[in-house]
Amino acid sequence: MTSLATNLATSEALPRRQSRVWRKFRSNKAALLGGIIVAFFVIVALLAPLLPVPGPAVTDWGAVRQGPSAAHPFGTDEIGRDVLSRMIWGARASLMAGVVSVGIAVLVGVPLGVLSGYLRGWTDAAISRVTEALLAAPFLILAIALAAFLGPSLTNAMIAIGISAVPIFIRLARGQTMSVMTEDYVESARAVGLTHWALITRYIVPNIFPPILVQGTLTIATAIIAEASLSFLGLGQQPPAPSWGSMLNVAKNFLEQAPWMALYPGAAIFLVVLGFNLLGDGLRDALDPRDH
C-alpha cells in the first residue's frame, strides 16, 4: 500500500499519461477483477473491528467444529472460535505481511539498486555479488531460515520475507537505472550541470518507478504466500492471533471431520494471491511504454 500511495502522488504529476494508463487498465477485465478482489480484502481487513462478528479469539465450547450455520456462516474451529471472524482478522495479518515486507524490500532494495546502477564500478560489483549470493538461496527457504533465526513472530516473519525479497528489487532497480542512464534526457541533465542528488531524485527514480510498482504488486502476492507458509510452520503469527497460514496448520488435523476449517483460509489465500497477480499483470500492461 505504501507503493500504491507513492504512485498516486507521482502519477498526479503525469496527467495525460495517467489517464491513458487508467483507460488501458479499465479496459482490461482481468486486471479490473484483480483490483476488485484486492480492494475487497483490503476493505474487509480495515473494517475488521467494525464488522458484526464475534472476536477472533472468543471461544464457544458449545459449538466446537460446527459446520456453517446462521450463527457461524463459515463454521467454527476445534475450540469453538468463529472461522469467519478469524478469516477477517487473518486478512489483516496476511495483507500487512504482504505490504510491509514488500515495503521493506523496496526501501532497502531500490536505493541499493539505483546506487549500483548509477555508480557502477566497485560499488556495483560489491552490491551485485551480495545480491547474487542471496538469490542463490530459494526465496522461501531463505525466508524460513531468517525467520527461524530471528525468532517466531509476525514482525520477524515480515522482516525475514522483506530481506528475502530485497535482491529482486536491487536487480530490477539496477537494470532500470542503467537503462534510464542512457536516455538523452539524463545526458542533457548532466550537461546542465545538475548534482548527483538532483539527477537521481528527479531524473532517475521517477522514471524507474513504473516497473518497480508492477514488481511490488506481484511480490506482495509472493510475500502473502510466504507469510502463510511461515505461519503454517509456526514461524509467523503466533496463536491465539489469527492467520490464514496457522489456521490451515490446525485444519489439516481435522480435514475429514471439519473440512470448512481448511477450505476458507485456503480459498482466501488463493483469491488474494490471484487478485494481486492479476492486478500486477494489468498494471504491467497498462504501464507498458511500448504501447504509448
Partner: protein
Amino acid sequence: MTATALLELEGLTIALKGVDQPIVDNVGFTLARGETLCIVGESGCGKSLTSLALMGLLQTPPLTVTRGMARFAGEDLLAMPAARLRQIRGGRMAMIFQEPMTSLNPGLRIGEQIAESVRRHKGVGQAEARARALEMLRRVRIPAPEKRLDEYPHQLSGGMRQRAMIAMALANDPELLIADEPTTALDVTIQAQILKLMKSLQQETGAAMVLITHDLGVVAEMADKVAVMYGGRIIETGTAEQVFTDPQHPYTIGLMSSMPSLGARSGRLVTVPGTVPQPTAMPPGCRFSTRCPFATGACATVPPLTDLGAGHRVACAHAPLTATEAPAMRSTGT
C-alpha cells in the same frame, strides 16, 4: 591564437577501449567570443565525441581522453575536477542536443526543468528561477509561454521542445554554446526557424557557438569558421568562405559536390565512393586514402594540417592543389 580566444582546443585525442588507433586524433581549434564554428562530417567522424569531451560527458569507460587541452577562459576543461566542471557546465557553457523528443525529462514540467538549471547556477530562489524560465520561453518565442511553463514535454511539438531546450541552454547566459545537430530531428521548415532563432539569440548574447552538423546548408547559413572532420581528424579548416569557395581536400570537395542544390544539374549527383572504415580498420597515414581516387604513395604517412595562408589549413599530401588538379578533382567529385 588571438588574445580574445574564448576556447582553445589543442591536440584532443580520444581512445576507445580495444581499438589501437585513437578514434579522435589530435583535434584542435580556437574560438573567439561571438564566433560560430561548424564542425562538419559524416556519422562516426568524431564530431560528436569532440563536443562531448568538451562538456566532460564522454562515456568513460570505454572512451578516454588520452591527450589534449581545452582552455576555456583560462581553465583547462579536460583537466579540471568533476565538481568544478559541473559548475561550468550548464552555466558558462551549455549544450543543445540533437533529439528534442527524448532530451527532456518526461516527468518534469518544462518550467521546472529550466528553473532547475537556473537555481543550480545562479543560486536564486524558486520564484525568481521560474520568472527566468518564463522569460527564456518568451525569448525563444514559444507561443503562450505562461501555459507552456506548466506543461509536460509530451504536450509540446518537436519544434517547441527544441525551443525549450534552447531556452534551457541559454537560461544562464552561457559564454559558449555547443549544439550537436540541433535541427537534424526537425522537419525542414522548423529547421530554418530554429537556426534563425539561434543566430539571433547568439547575436543578442554574444556567445560563442560550436555547431555540429552534417548538413552543409546549415554550415553555409551559420558558420564563421568551418572544420571538416574525417575519421577522427580535422582534415580541412578555415573560414566558411575559404572552405566553400576553395575546398582543397578531396573529401571536402566530395562533400561540396554531393550537396544537392536547386535548379538544373548536369548528370548524376556526385557521391563519395565507399563508406567510412570501421575504427578498427583505419588505414595508416591519411585516413581518407582508402576512398580517395587521388591517393598516392605519399598518403601512407599522416599528412600534417598545413596552413595555405590566411588560416585555411588542409591535411592532404596534394594540397595546395595546382590549377590543373583542382578542376579535375571537382569534376570527378573524387
